[in-house]
């Protein structure tokens, strides 16, 4: 009989303890992110960064592109469409000479010819880069920020069309591997993930900038 009553008592009081705990839980801050409206969660502790090298949306820096057509050839689903045209000067004519592309560590690329020896750069030296395309300005960059320098071949084609159909793309990343100037990349930030559209035609990205060839 004593066991019976104490059983009831323990039952009641443990349920009440549980209820007090859940009641306290009601006033704790929410952990839900209202994602498309709210981006603050990127700063929160429990948010995991998108890893570097994530295969996201494709992006082409047409200033670097030499229209070699390798990406369109290797694409397994044929989602890259490139049309090119030779310049009017006839055989051997080219749009510009070969130059070097300076890749900075913050993943911004700068096109241009580096003055001096391109193979080895001393740390803490200022490098002057002649940005020939499109404006021909010069800019100084600290060599600590430089990630690598890639040679850019001379351009012998006008680019009339460089379209990537992201609705077709299967994110294999082969095109970025074969790209000789490393101008075709996959965006590994949040912008490379969220590009949903209501119309499928809007997923056909065009990267041509006609103003480059004027």
């Amino acid at each position: 009989m004593v066991g019976y009553i104490s059983n009831i008592y323990v039952g009641v009081y443990t349920v009440l303890v549980g209820m007090v705990i859940t009641f306290k839980q009601m006033f704790k801050p929410r952990v839900t992110h209202q994602y498309p409206y709210q981006y603050e969660f990127e700063r929160k502790d429990n948010y995991r960064e998108i890893p570097i090298g994530n295969r996201g949306q494709l992006h082409n820096r047409v200033e670097d592109c030499i229209v070699c057509n390798k990406c369109a050839q290797i694409c397994p689903v044929d989602c890259i469409y490139i049309d090119s045209r030779k310049p009017s000067g006839g055989r051997g004519a080219k749009l510009w000479e070969s130059m070097n592309v300076v890749h900075l560590k913050d993943r911004k690329q700068i096109i241009g010819i580096v003055e001096g020896d391109t193979k080895k750069i001393e740390p803490d030296t200022e490098i002057t880069i002649n940005q020939t395309v499109p404006t021909g300005q010069t800019r100084k960059v600290s060599s600590n920020d430089v990630d690598r320098i890639v040679e850019r071949k001379k351009v012998t084609f006008y680019m009339d069309r460089f379209d990537i159909d992201m609705a077709l793309c299967m994110y294999c990343g082969l095109c970025t591997e074969v790209c000789p100037t490393e101008c075709l990349t996959m965006v590994d930030t949040l912008q490379g993930i969220e590009y949903s559209e209501f119309d499928r035609a809007n997923l056909n990205y065009s990267f041509v900038k006609p103003e480059l060839y004027k």
């Binding site: 009831i8 009081y13 349920v15 009440l16 303890v17 007090v20 859940t22 839980q25 952990v31 502790d45």
Partner: protein, 419 residues
């Protein structure tokens, strides 16, 4: 005519004390009818009063489903529905519209007639319980009108009778679906509801012994005069009876921790697995209407009905007070739902037959002995005083233990920091 409907609280006439039901109020405030309808004006007023409830009760799930989702979200540190309307308050409306336009599927080897009939039976008898619940009162002139469709003499007994028929609808739905999940769910549900009707009835009986009437408005009238006159505090045994009633009521509306009939992990959705579209919505309406009705009965029987908290001052009184108290009990039901895990079948029957039923028999005995010792008038200070002292001491001991328990578990509940 009057002979038949007279039994339902004599239409708009005075029944108990000086209060009139809702139909009387309608006759008073609505414009007079054309001459050829005057003969039936009382009947029409009655039907209109019923119509008000039939119109309002299906709106209850609209609020309660959202509340359920929000409470569950808050307990689990989530936000709940947020998209439809500000803070998602229109979510249930959107879901309801969606259900209205969904395809109405009937299982090919099921029983078509019974399959269609079952939701209507359940909804009808859930709504029927609302007929005898007094929702509030208004003084107009020197008359008092109570918001009750029909002030039945057997009020609470009628509600028990009507709510026991819901079981038939559930079995019908389960069998007509021709599905294992539905049949098992409905059989479980029926066993559970039939078992738990006993502690409900017995704990109501221990209240009826104190008030000595079955009339719902009569029960509310006896709780006039503030917090201390609520029936829950009249004797220590009615305090226990309230909790017995509430636990059994949770089981009778098939909610967690007693939601075995709808256990998702075992039975998909229980007796309404095969239902879709509007028929499913009807089950939903019935479920939440039941939940509201059960809480309203608990408020009427134990927590003073629509009477206020303080004598003379109209705090938490009338219709808003009644709805507030009822919604608070509904909130407690949701709170329990998101605190406790689901019971096993044997544990469920164990709780009912070995704990709740003996305890409620003990309550009946206790109330009888208490009224023998301290006098039948439980409102008298000679009886009320000892009762309040016993209740306060018991609650104090329990709460002390609870807070000790809460502080003991504090270390375990601190969240593990994410790596």
């Amino acid at each position: 005519m009057r002979q038949f409907f007279g039994i339902f609280g004599n239409l708009s006439e005075v029944t108990v004390g000086s209060s009139k039901p809702l139909a009387g109020l309608l006759l008073e405030i609505l414009p007079p009818l054309p001459a050829f309808l005057e003969e039936y004006e009382q009947l029409l007023a009655m039907i209109t009063a019923c119509g008000i409830f039939v119109g309002v009760v299906p709106l209850i799930p609209l609020v309660l489903v959202l509340a359920e989702r929000k409470v569950s979200a808050f307990i689990q540190d989530r936000t709940g529905p947020m998209r439809v309307g500000p803070w998602g308050i229109l979510q249930t409306l959107a879901d309801g519209v969606k259900l209205l336009f969904k395809e109405d599927l009937i299982p090919p080897y099921g029983d078509r007639v019974l399959f269609r009939l079952a939701p209507y039976i359940i909804v009808c008898f859930s709504l029927a319980a609302f007929v005898a619940i007094p929702f509030g009162a208004i003084d107009l002139g020197d008359e008092r009108y109570v918001f009750i469709v029909s002030n039945l003499n057997i009020g609470i007994f009628y509600i028990l009778a009507v709510s026991s028929v819901i079981v038939i609808g559930i079995i019908m739905a389960g069998w007509a679906s021709n599905s294992k999940w539905s049949l098992l769910g409905s059989l479980r549900s029926a066993a559970q509801m039939v078992s738990y009707e006993i502690p409900v009835g017995l704990s109501i009986l221990s209240v009826i012994m104190v008030v000595q009437t079955l009339n719902m408005q009569g029960i509310v009238d006896q709780q006039d005069g503030g917090l201390h006159s609520w029936l829950i505090f009249r004797t220590p045994f009615s305090f226990i009876a309230f909790f017995v009633f509430f636990i059994s009521a949770i089981a009778e509306v098939n909610r967690t921790p007693f939601d075995l009939p709808e256990a998702e992990s075992e039975l998909v959705a229980g007796f309404h697995t095969e239902y879709s579209g509007m028929r499913f919505a009807l089950f939903f309406i019935a479920e939440y209407a039941n939940m509201f009705a059960v809480c309203a009965i608990a408020v009427t029987l134990f927590l003073g009905g629509w009477q206020g908290v303080l004598p003379g001052i109209d705090i938490l009184g009338g219709l808003p007070g009644f709805v507030f108290k009822t919604l608070f009990l509904v909130f407690v039901m949701m709170w329990i739902r998101w605190t406790l895990p689901r019971l096993r079948v044997d544990q469920l029957m164990n709780l009912c037959w070995k704990y709740l039923i003996p305890v409620s028999f003990f309550n009946i005995l206790g109330v009888g002995i208490w009224m023998l010792i301290f006098g039948a008038d439980t409102m008298d200070m000679k009886s009320l005083g000892p009762s309040l002292v016993v209740i306060v001491i018991a609650v104090f001991i329990l709460l002390k233990q609870v807070f000790k328990g809460v502080s003991g578990t504090k270390r375990e509940t601190t969240p593990v920091p994410s790596s």
